[in-house]
């Protein structure tokens, strides 16, 4: 036991399982020290009165919520990936997909405008390959906007199910972290988008 470790009985005291009087005399001083530690715990309340106003201001800017709108209106999916968990080019990834439904009165084979977003600050180029472009890794480049490494592409796709992946720097195929994925049968994961 190191010099800093409390005796197991003193830990029971700290846990509230026993009292100071239950300790043998040789542990009383250590018990006193432990109780002084607990006495310094700050249990005073913290009041954040400004939070309510700020929260309500923030959500006031959100689009209206209804079952119909949840199906038809823009939808956000967010996932943040810790940079140190991935290879450098993909180190920081967050995905945001916004589904922008076209007019409800669209043609029978309805089209849906979809914006794909990948945050990859260290990437030099990002493109989109999927069932909608015959998996051509060069057909649909994403455009980098600003210094934050946000790459976007807006496509109009027919309603239905599509599979896709991001292609980073022409070599790395990355599923969208914000969308469900399926095995492509060759050891890779494809993202699935249902419109």
């Amino acid at each position: 036991m190191s010099k800093h470790e409390f005796h197991p009985l003193v830990k029971q005291l700290l846990d509230g399982d026993i009292t100071l009087a239950d300790l043998p005399p040789e542990l009383r001083a250590e018990g006193d020290e432990a109780l002084r530690l607990l006495a310094a715990v700050d249990r005073s309340p913290v009041q954040l009165s400004a939070v309510s106003e700020h929260v309500m201001q923030a959500i006031a800017q959100r689009p209206a919520r209804s079952v119909w709108r949840r199906v038809m209106q823009p939808r956000e999916l967010r996932l943040r990936i810790r940079p140190w968990l991935l290879a450098p080019a993909l180190a920081i990834a967050a995905a945001l997909i916004v589904f922008l439904r076209t007019a409800p009165t669209a043609a029978p084979a309805s089209l849906v405008t979809v914006r794909f977003v990948l945050v990859a600050p260290e990437a030099h180029e990002v493109s989109l390959a999927g069932t909608f472009n015959q998996w051509d890794a060069h057909a649909t480049p994403l455009i980098r906007s600003g210094p934050t490494g946000v790459w976007t592409a807006t496509l109009t796709l027919p309603a239905g199910q599509h599979q896709y992946a991001f292609v980073v720097d022409g070599v790395r195929w990355v599923p969208d972290p914000g969308a469900p994925a399926v095995d492509d049968g060759f050891g890779r994961r494809n993202s699935v988008l249902t419109l």
């Binding site: 913290v46 954040l48 700020h54």
Partner: protein, 181 residues
């Protein structure tokens, strides 16, 4: 006698999901300060706690449809706030500072005098030296007053695992307090 007119969290969540977003303010008012203290002790700063609680409420609103049991909104919200606090600590781990602990101690230096404030400040600094897992179990038990059983239920973990974390926290706090006081 208590009047049975308390609106449940589930009632409010369902109303908000049905489009009455103003009702969300009731949930914010209900839990804002209750979780402010948890966030302040986890992050070592009232300002950081304010940001975290605010973000967590906005995120909870955005994801409200994913709250599977509206009557258990608060447990679900707590996990969002917890993730936010853990992420914040990872981000600013290198910035854990005397200033942060000062801000917590100073905010509450109203009734205990300088000595109490100094002891609180020393302990808050020591808490920042714990791992987030250790700090969390200490805060939930000794600041929020939850039992091991309640913490285990909230965090979906076992009591022995929590006790192991806590006992390591005790030793680390003792080491920190001895070295820095």
């Amino acid at each position: 006698m208590r009047r049975e007119t308390q609106v449940t969290d589930g009632d409010i969540v369902r109303a908000v999901l049905a489009g009455d977003r103003e009702r969300y303010a009731q949930l914010v008012e209900r839990y804002r300060d209750r979780y402010a203290r948890y966030a302040a002790r986890m992050l070592g700063s009232v300002d950081a706690a304010e940001d975290a609680v605010q973000d967590a409420f906005v995120r909870a609103f955005d994801q409200l449809a994913q709250c599977k049991d509206p009557n258990k909104f608060v447990g679900w919200f707590f996990l969002i706030l917890r993730n936010r606090c853990f992420a914040e600590r990872r981000r600013s781990r290198a910035e854990a500072s005397l200033e942060a602990a000062d801000s917590v101690a100073a905010a509450d230096r109203t009734d205990g005098g300088a000595e109490t404030a100094e002891r609180r400040r020393a302990l808050q600094l020591a808490l920042l030296a714990l791992t987030p897992d250790q700090r969390e179990v200490f805060v939930l038990k000794h600041v929020e007053g939850l039992s091991y059983g309640e913490i285990a239920e909230r965090l979906s973990t076992s009591i022995p695992s929590l006790k192991m974390r806590m006992h390591r926290a005790y030793d680390k706090l003792r080491e920190e307090l001895r070295e820095h006081t």
